[in-house]
Amino acid sequence: MAAGSNGDHSFIDVAGLTVEFPLEDHVVHALDRVSFTVAENEFVALIGPSGCGKTTILNVLAGVVPPTAASRLTLRGQALEAVPRGTVGYVFQDPILLPWRTIEDNVRLPLEVLGMDTPDHRRRVGELLALVGLTGFARGYPKQLSGGMKQRAGIARGLVFDPSLLLMDEPFAALDEITRTGLNTWLQDLWLKTRKTVMLVTHNVLEAVFLADKVIVMASNPGRIKEVLAVNLPRPRTLEMFSSPAFVEEAALIRESLHRDAGAAEVLP
């Protein structure tokens, strides 16, 4: 899983990515000439202070926010606009379940949109609900679920059409510590099983070290990449490793990178 397999065969190749949001009197550079690559099956964490454009990177890759013309983005060697529907799954910070649909129907929504609503794929809805532990709530409505359950339903929806790239925007940020740790372990298992390429936005250094092969450290104003660090810890990673010297050292490196040349107030969680 070496992070270095660059060249023409990167799964994601981003070069000179710039995103501007025009305001009334000036232009905000949400991202300023950001370049990075992601290998297939790699788990990448994006970490940085608020406003550094982490989420914007995901939004661009999902096709929700347009980059400026000079930016070059390819996914599996194809220009981003040419990538077929159903290649990218997106799990949002707020799970965005549609309140008028049952949990089952929420998870099935992407299949309907992508024209994949066949019996075979429907079976996948049931499998995924089992995987995220929501089988008993399939016929329930979002307002009956807790925050953690909603988020797991959101993850099931992101995976239901078997995307080759999964984008996750602080999926566990709103959850309590215990649920969060549990879901992180679960997410690693899921990833080891499916080996999807994952890009995870997080505020949490320990979460990044626990899950990622590679951590992209960002800075804000304008949004840019400070450093890309590989996490060299064996898999599967366990909760016991949190206190191991190697884990602590990886976390310290990331924390040090985050704080370097930054006002303390900008970085502290």
């Binding site: 965005i96 549609l98 309140p99 992407p110």
Partner: protein
């Protein structure tokens, strides 16, 4: 507003039940006091063609109730038809305004401007155009109920749950899919809050249509005749039945709303 079993509400704490019972008791006491004072008004020199006491109104109703029911039925039919027409015209129009820039630029400004005309002032025109039958009453009723439905539906269809739109765009959904799977549902709370207002407006429109319509059917016509003969008690019967019709339509909308919007947090949302 309904006392109906409270099935939808979560069990309220005991204290609140007590408070509600007391509010009801206070309301009952006030009502009894007002009615007693009203009943005693002839003793204080009030003439009954100005203010007939309640028992006289009730006696009058018992004497003429078949005709009251008949006129109420006519007005109810006009209101329901007007309301249906307003919905069937208003909601699709709102969809058009939201989806085609052309309609937004050309039609919507007129909708907003025409809304400022008191529709009642158009009623005499409707009589010239549509005669003295049921049609002009239905049209006036529809016109009054129409505008809240259009304006609120436009707001609702545009609201379209911004976050959900982001989800749909990440899936590269087509505009049709976004409409049928998101916008339509997201607009329903707004639509229903307009429908509740329009239901009572439709009854007002029908009665105004009858006032100017020169026909002899409907609660409005009944009240005009009563006014001509100074049958003040009949007028009061007409007022009560107009209110009942309004409540009937409002209640019907609220009932449908509960079934359709069961998924919504607050089941009934109000917005300006």
């Amino acid at each position: 507003m309904t006392s109906g079993g409270g099935g939808g509400r979560t069990a309220a704490p005991r204290r609140r039940v007590g408070a509600r019972a007391r509010t009801r008791l206070e309301l009952l006491a006030t009502t009894v006091a007002v009615l007693s004072l009203w009943e005693a008004s002839p003793l204080m020199g009030m003439q009954d063609f100005i203010l007939p006491p309640p028992h006289q109104i009730v006696r009058k109703f018992l004497a003429i109730y078949p005709s009251v029911f008949y006129h109420s039925w006519i007005t109810l039919v006009e209101s329901v038809l007007g309301f249906a027409l307003a919905f069937l015209g208003g909601f699709p129009l709102a969809i058009g305004i939201v989806h085609w820039r052309f309609m937004e630029k050309t039609v919507y400004p007129y909708v907003v401007a025409v809304r400022l005309i008191p529709v009642i002032s158009i009623a005499p025109l409707m009589v010239i155009w549509f005669g003295i039958g049921m049609t002009p009453k239905v049209v006036v009723s529809a016109l009054v109920a129409f505008f809240p439905i259009v304006v609120n539906s436009v707001v609702g269809l545009r609201s379209g749950a911004v976050e959900a739109l982001k989800l749909m765009r990440s899936l590269k959904a087509t505009p049709g899919q976004i409409f049928w799977k998101i916008r339509l549902y997201a607009s329903l709370p707004y639509l229903f809050s307009a429908l509740r207002v329009s239901a009572t407006l439709a009854v007002i429109g029908a009665i105004v249509g009858e006032f100017v319509g020169g026909s002899d059917k409907g609660l409005g016509a009944m009240m005009l005749q009563a006014q001509a003969f100074l049958y003040t008690d009949t007028l009061f019967v007409g007022v009560v039945f107009s209110a009942i019709l309004g409540l009937l339509l409002f209640g019907a909308v609220a009932l449908v709303e509960r079934r359709v919007l069961f998924w919504h947090e607050s089941v009934s949302t109000d917005n300006p």
